[in-house]
Amino acid sequence: MGLNPPPEEIPGIRRRFIIISLVATAVFVILALRLWYLQVLGVEHYRELSERNRTRYIAIDPPRGAIFDRQGQLLVDNRPSFTVSVLHQEIDGREALFERLAHLLNLDVELLETRWQAGLRLPRYRPVPLAVDVGRAAMERVQENSVDLPGIIIEVKPRRAFPQGRLAAHLLGYLGEITEQELQSGDFPGYRSGDLIGKTGLEKLLENRLHGQEGLKRIEVNVKGRELRQVTTRGPLPGHRVYLSLDTDLQQATEQAFGEQAGAAVVLDVHTGEILALVSRPTFDPARFARGISQDEWLDLLEDPQHPLQNKALRGQYPPGSTFKMVVALAALEAGVAGPETSVNCTGSFSLSPSYRYRCWKKEGHGRTDLKKAIKESCDVWFYKTGLDVGIERIADTARRLGLGETLGFPFGGERPGLIPDREWKKARFGTSWYNGETVITSIGQGFVLTTPLQLATMTAALANGGTVWKPQVVNRIENLAGEVIWSSAKEALTATEWSQRNLEVVRNAMQAVVSEPGGTAWRSRLEDLPYAGKTGTSQVIRRKSDEEEELEEEADIVPYRFRDHALFVAYAPADDPQIAVAVVVEHGEHGSSAAAPIAKAMIGNYFQRDAAENLARAERR
């Protein structure tokens, strides 16, 4: 053993060991320098990275404020909605996982895959939503099988709920995801992509009141993004509570009274302008929007010929027809052109000149007709003649003082101004002068005149309250969480005209006769024990038909729906002490007396003749 010499005897070996030891030490010094660089110089940078690694800030959606009616009945609330999501990091064997999940949720595997692909742009720790708002049953199925679904989690978020179903859908409006433009507009500070905001109606108008303040959860997570502990939490602040002037019962009764018919109705408090009911038919189901409406459903709504998404109470512009006659009557009385006893012999038509003949709706004529009878039985000839005597300027002026022809400042929904024509308007619009024939047809609310249901209700309220046009209000007050009122509406007069109370009384008496005297056009819609006043109207969709055409149609007994006349009715009640004003338009309802007046009757009846027992029951339910 040991045939070779010991190292000490190898020449130069000592030097070699010294060099090697120095080299080894130098390498260790390099390692130490690198550690010094990382740990001493870089500590702040890496501490920050480490912090970012393990902490996540997660926003907690605030519950949106609830909306109530005037009596505190809930109209819009929130419900928990369950979203099935998947955590990026914990996913293992995606295909098999999605297969199982799709089976549980009754969804297409491809759909899950598509959503997964779409979610890949999210930060890694953010769960990717696979099925939104799945419903309690599906949620429970997923939960029961969670052992077989690693990485699948269920997120709970508040979503809009509508305890009253479709009630007042147009007023309440709906939510939608904030768009890129809205985000960049600067109008929505603090909002993030994916947030829901009010897109229409009150939800849009009161977005900043209803939205609330989002909470923040700072959590510590492990590498898989699984929450280990919450470090700090700032709770979300729910949005404010909004109380409307709406009367749920009345709104409900009105919507029901329409049945399948299209149209709109408005009920106002005559002394304040508060909106008690505002109906547009047909309507839509706001819950569909809360769920996330599909492209197909959306297109169906948009392309529906009856325009369910349109709020017709604000945006529907209809010729007022005979409901305009009060304007002409009041203008005539104020101008002294006609008095209560001014009478005209109605023979069924009125000749402006031998070649221009204007027909009364009643072919055989009304005979001798004074103002009251002219309104009660809606004689056209009396108004043709009186209107001509008053002149278009005074008619237009009176109409405007009663709230027609301009928007009333309704705060949302794109209210339309309607149209009250006069000489100046016609000159500007067509460059031609005004013809007497146009005054004639304007006197019965045809021709160029256009009004919205809201304007008709406002006009009726002004007639009932002595001449004040109140700005329509729908929000009564807004309360914060503590129940403190942080905003409340104040009534605001848009115009207040000092009409001669005697003249107003003449018009009102005639309106009362419409309902409460036999022969009145709305006699069939009277309410026992509750005298109210009203006026029917029938407005042509197209020009008044010639005799021949009318006879042809009567024979065939079919008029295409879209050519049928609109039915209108305005009313206030009770007749002796007006509280509410009502306007009803039934699109293509043909006759105000048969289509619109019964709806108004149901509304007024509901409001004033609610059974005491029913009131009691409602109080208990609340």
């Binding site: 053993m1 040991g2 045939l3 070779n4 010499p5 010991p6 190292p7 000490e8 190898i10 020449p11 130069g12 070996i13 000592r14 070699r16 060991f17 090697i20 030891s21 080894a24 030490t25 390498v27 260790f28 390099i30 390692l31 130490a32 690198r34 550690l35 010094w36 990382l38 740990q39 001493v40 870089g42 500590v43 940078h45 890496y46 501490r47 990275l49 480490s50 690694n53 393990r54 890694r124 510590e220 997570v221 492990n222 590498v223 898989k224 280990l228």
Partner: protein
């Protein structure tokens, strides 16, 4: 051979204590690194303690046999290990895309690890006879070249770039130490450069990716670069004093991958900071210098080469591992001796330590 009482007095106690100190620190570190694991199986730090115990026993047994007997066994051992490496290629067990193990019924043998020791013995045998003052010529390097190249090639084919490189580093260091003629050095240097360029095409995709990612970790922060980035965050956030034992967030919250094996040092660095790291570096440096001292004082050239080879093995493992976790070298998968969890690494290291002790205690006996 009878047990010689003098051996106890000649046993290199400081080295043994140093090794036990490092292994103890390693076990404590593993305790922290894996504290968040909840498995019914034996905790990692306990398993490592058992491996340490087994390793110490092996080291003692190795001490009992005079290393000079190994001089005759060197080549047979080498041949056997080479055979095992071939066997791996034919009948090896494949895990995660690599075939490195031979299943011996419940126990997985990794011949490439054995090769680290065996190449030391074989080179020690060869160089103790062939080395001379003028240095080895290119022709004389042909045989060690083959001795090194064949197993390294086989290991690379498994594929296990880290182990193959380490084997080459160990052999290369020994050859350099033995002395190489200047002309041969130039040839080898230029040949090596060509080989590296050519070798790029033979690398596996994941190996190329590792090298590219090393050069720019941000290239793939969630994939291949993840290890380096997270490890640097752990080390860097440790600062001067560290977060304290069991308090490192990177490791305790599992952001650090492979924190009980290759990246165990990152856990230590996060929790003990720059000061702790300096201490650890100092201890490792002591081991290396001590090993070199043992080589210098060895009783014969064979002992010297063995001691030097073992020291080189420890040195390269330390440098490659630390260089990797602090972002100086690419991630090649080398354990930190005595610190990373793993039976194989522990046994290999302790065999080496046993050899060092063996050489050290017999420096006076001829």
């Amino acid at each position: 051979m009878m047990f010689d009482r003098r051996l106890i007095t000649h046993l290199n106690w400081p080295l043994l204590l140093l090794v036990c100190l490092l292994a103890g620190l390693g076990i404590a570190n593993l305790y922290s690194a894996t504290s968040s694991w909840t498995t019914a199986a034996l905790p990692v730090y306990l398993k490592q303690t058992y491996w340490l115990g087994l390793g110490l026993m092996i080291a003692v047994i190795i001490c009992l046999v005079d290393y000079r007997h190994l001089e005759y066994l060197s080549f047979p051992l080498y041949a056997t290990t080479l055979g095992l490496l071939l066997l791996v290629l034919v009948a090896g067990k494949t895990t995660m895309g690599a075939t490195r193990w031979i299943n011996l019924g419940g126990f997985n043998l990794q011949p490439s690890e054995i090769m680290k020791i065996v190449i030391i013995l074989a080179f020690a045998r060869y160089f103790s006879e062939k080395a001379h003052v003028r240095g080895l010529s290119l022709k004389e390097l042909a045989i060690p070249g083959l001795l090194l190249g064949v197993p390294a090639g086989l290991i690379m084919k498994q594929p296990d770039l880290g182990t193959a490189l380490l084997v080459i580093f160990i052999g290369g260091s020994m050859a350099l130490f033995a002395g190489i003629r200047r002309s041969a050095m130039i040839w080898l240097g230029s040949g090596g450069a060509f080989a590296m360029a050519g070798g790029w095409f033979f690398l596996h995709d994941y190996q190329k990716r590792r090298i590219l990612t090393f050069l720019n970790p941000e290239r793939d922060p969630l994939g291949a670069g993840y290890h380096i980035i997270q490890s640097k965050i752990a080390v860097g956030s440790g600062g001067i004093r560290g977060f304290g034992f069991m308090k490192g967030t990177q490791s305790q919250l599992s952001f650090l991958p492979e924190r009980h094996t290759d990246f165990a040092f990152s856990v230590f660095a996060e929790e003990w900071g720059f000061l702790g790291c300096l201490l650890l570096l100092f201890l490792y440096l002591l081991v290396v210098l001590w090993g070199l001292y043992i080589a210098q004082k060895a009783g014969d050239r064979f002992g010297m080469f063995i001691a030097f080879g073992v020291t080189a093995m420890l040195f390269w493992h330390i440098v490659v591992n630390l260089g990797m976790v602090i972002g100086l070298l690419p991630v090649v998968g080398a354990p930190l001796p005595l610190f990373s969890y793993g039976g194989t690494s522990m046994i290999t290291t302790m065999i080496g330590i046993g050899l060092l002790l063996n050489v050290s205690m017999r420096r006076f006996t001829f």
